[in-house]
Amino acid sequence: MYRSLFNILSGRNTRQGLWGLPLLVALLISLWLTVQTREFATTENLFNLVAQAMPLIIAALGQLVVVLIGGLDLSVGSVISFTTAVLALGQPAILLIPAVFLLAAMIGLINGLAITRFNVHPIIATLSTQYIVLGITRILRPVSGGAVPGIVIDAVSGSLLGIPYPVFWGAVVILAAWKLLYGSRYGLHLFAIGGGIASGAESAARNFGVSDRRNIILAYVVCSCFAAVAGVFLAGRIVSGDPNVGLLFELDTVTAVALGGTQLSGGIGSLHGTVIGSLVMALLANGMNLANISPFVQTAIKGGILLAVVGLQSRKKMGL
């Protein structure tokens, strides 16, 4: 049962990917900020950090699900914007919230069907839906505004026993993702399908009697639904619907997932890696603000740190 610390940190000989290094980086950044700034290690800031990281964590966990099967979902950003737009339609929450998830699931279904039934490459399929959903969002809500149901706003801004609600969102979402990936047969099947695809044998899992198509479609549905959760959270945070709020989420989620050591070719990756990857990105943004780094150099520093972390995550195989 014993595995060396190195193996755990490097993620070798497991299917969890190389998540140790980003964890180390997250810890180092936190340590540096604690020493350098007065404000970082305050509960107020740490709770801020959780709330800031939350939409990315949620959406990235959805992205993780499709990345594990060797796919990619470029439509998450649009789905997020779309969700906020629908939520701001001014209808009662009891109507809007189910509607939001139904619509997101439909988008995921279209992605999944196009990819599995019609052999469309995931990048093409999800880029197309990205455009379509963004177009619809722009019709619904040309500019930001509208009224988000109060319950949504309260659900992200309140607190319970001194612990702000975003912390609970995080707990619930991570628990759900954990159950999905590690606490069910479906999760194992995702890894199986991804492992087959990564090793070039698309139908490997099918020969074991695992229905790959249905599972792949479901993965895209799950990803969209996670994006919708992120959208609900964001709608509460920006208190409005906004056609652009999800912009660049597709790249950020993929970055967070890959930063956490998950391999984009599928089959190798982990939930905790993805959470760590998202946290590193949020830490960078929060940390550079607190350390008063000029906005003119922030982008370069962010890129440099990304490159440094990823540059050390050398893998066995070349590829995406």
């Binding site: 590690y182 069910s184 194992l188 090793s199 139908s203 099918r206 020969n207 009697g209 695992v210």
Partner: protein
């Protein structure tokens, strides 16, 4: 019918379903009836109206040349392919096998010819994939899964950790896991498509024992192999396919090897192995005091032009590691290697070792043709010519090499629609010939070959042996590694036996016997001759 009926003939074991009423067959029932199955891929017909009956408690061999349609027929029974026409009955009831899942549910379990385990899952997860036991809260019950897996592996004499990832296993270990997976499914029909292609003699024995045990439990087993001796040792019935058509079904006890080969090949095979020659040329490879690992004993060998020399031994004794040390995949701990009298700069870099040896006219033919050998989606022409291209610089124009390729296709008797056929659509034997063709076409002096005939039919095997001999007659030399001892004895001039990462014996092949080799391989240093 003089053949011994299936074990316990009259008393059917309890898990064999009874004959359906109205059936007027003899008392040994057909568990599976495949009737008039046809299947075409694109334009080419893989199966024409083939019928096959499987009986409970019997091992049924499926024989035929590469590309005869054996795997296709079995993939239809396994639900992977759907037949264009024809029907399948189980106990007289029609089966509609739409997917592998459907076949599994019907009690048909398969070891596919291609390794299909998922590298990123553990052994136990692979074993139970698709039917994982569920514990509390819908989670997978890992303790149960692992302990059952350990038990199944133990039955095959394996002591692997069930939670280990498959990507960490050797080929033979993976093969065993697949077999364990197949057995574990507790199906009534087991299909084993070339389960022994990656196994050596000792492992084959273990497997045979298990197959007999399952047969005695009343399972119907289909056994596909290109190794004749296994068929005669293990099987009750044999069906031969040729070019997608049924040639015939016979009791194994009523047929001789030569008859069987004639059924398969359509003619009497002259001689399986080419004649040996005595004209040894200059020394081409000299390895001195090479220590494969830090703790292993030094090893030395020489190879001359005109010679085929083998490395024999049990699985995992370091033969493969040694061969791959020569191309820089592993870095040996100490020792020298010289080629044509010139010492190699050690260690060879892992990324360019192959190219470096190529400049010295040495080629390496890997064992795993799917993973390491072939470009399955690319044309035959590309697969052969790449060995010639890779000796030239990037900006050089890519010559078509039409003549070379056409000659190879002809010399090697590769059965394909044309030069531009993707290699992936060829049968295993023809794929192997394409792979070898790449190195024979590349104008090399020394070939390092791992498993020259893995999964290759007897006719093609013979062709490959002759091709290798022709290669040495023209002044080439071959260092070969194989799990099939008989092949080594028949093909080679000399045999080195490897044990524990070093050479423990050397013998002329003409005097070698399976027993002598096994003896050396088992006892190690004590049997060292010379």
């Amino acid at each position: 019918m003089t053949a011994p009926g299936p074990a316990g003939g009259a008393t059917n074991p309890p898990d064999v379903p009874c004959v359906e009423a109205g059936s007027f067959e003899d008392f040994v029932t057909n568990l599976i009836e495949m009737s008039h199955i046809s299947k075409a891929f694109g334009g080419s017909k893989a199966l024409h109206s083939v019928s096959l009956d499987l009986k409970a408690g019997s091992v049924h061999a499926l024989m035929g040349e590469n590309g005869a349609g054996k795997s296709t027929l079995m993939k239809i029974l396994a639900g992977v392919h759907q037949p264009d026409s024809g029907e399948i009955f189980m106990n007289g009831e029609k089966l509609d096998l739409k997917s592998p899942r459907a076949a599994l549910d019907a009690g048909i379990s398969t070891v596919f010819q291609e390794h299909l385990l998922l590298p990123n899952l553990s052994i136990a997860e692979n074993m139970f994939l698709g039917r994982e036991p569920i514990g509390r809260f819908g989670a997978i019950d890992y303790p149960a899964m692992n302990s059952q897996t350990a038990k199944a592996l133990a039955e095959l004499g394996l002591t692997l950790d069930p939670s280990q990832l498959v990507s960490n296993l050797t080929i033979a270990e993976r093969q065993f896991v697949e077999i364990a997976h197949c057995i574990q499914a507790d199906a009534s029909v087991l299909i084993l498509d070339e389960p022994t292609a990656a196994l050596n003699a000792a492992d084959v024995d273990v497997l045979n024992r298990n197959i007999r045990r399952l047969r005695d439990k009343g399972k119907a087993i289909v056994y596909i192999s290109h190794r004749m001796e296994e068929i005669f040792e293990l099987c009750d019935t044999v069906t031969v396919l040729k070019d997608g058509a049924l040639v015939g079904t016979r009791m194994v006890s009523e047929i001789t090897t030569d008859e069987l080969i004639a059924m398969m090949v359509g003619r009497e095979l002259q001689d399986l192995f080419p004649d040996r020659t005595d004209d040894k040329g200059d020394e081409i490879l000299r390895v001195e005091n090479l220590r494969i690992t830090e703790t292993s004993q030094p090893l030395s060998l020489t190879l001359h032009k005109g010679e085929i020399v083998a490395l024999a031994g049990l699985e995992g004794q370091g033969q493969q590691r040694f061969l791959r040390s020569l191309i820089g995949r592993y870095h040996p701990f100490a020792g020298t290697i010289s080629i044509n009298g010139k010492a190699l700069q050690m260690p060879l870099p892992a990324s360019s070792g192959v190219r470096h040896l190529q400049q010295l006219k040495v080629g390496f033919v890997p064992e795993d043709r799917k993973e390491e050998g072939l470009f399955l989606a690319l044309p035959i022409a590309h697969n052969i010519a790449i060995g010639l291209h890779s000796r030239r610089s990037e900006l050089a124009p890519a010559r078509p090499y039409r003549n070379v390729i056409a000659r190879m296709m002809e010399v090697m008797n590769i059965k394909a629609a044309g030069l531009s056929t993707p290699v992936g659509s060829l049968s295993g034997g023809n794929q192997q010939k394409v792979l070898l063709g790449r190195y024979l076409a590349a104008d090399l002096d020394l070939l390092l070959v791992e498993e020259p005939t893995r999964g290759v039919d007897i006719g093609a095997k013979s062709e490959i042996y002759h091709l290798l001999r022709d290669f040495t007659r023209k002044g080439g030399a071959v260092l070969v590694l194989s799990r099939e001892t008989i092949e080594l004895i028949g093909l080679c001039d000399r045999i080195y036996v490897v044990h524990h990462d070093t050479i423990v014996a050397e013998m002329p092949a003409a005097q070698a016997t399976e027993h002598k080799i096994l003896d050396a391989a088992l006892t190690g240093g004590s049997a060292r001759q010379h």
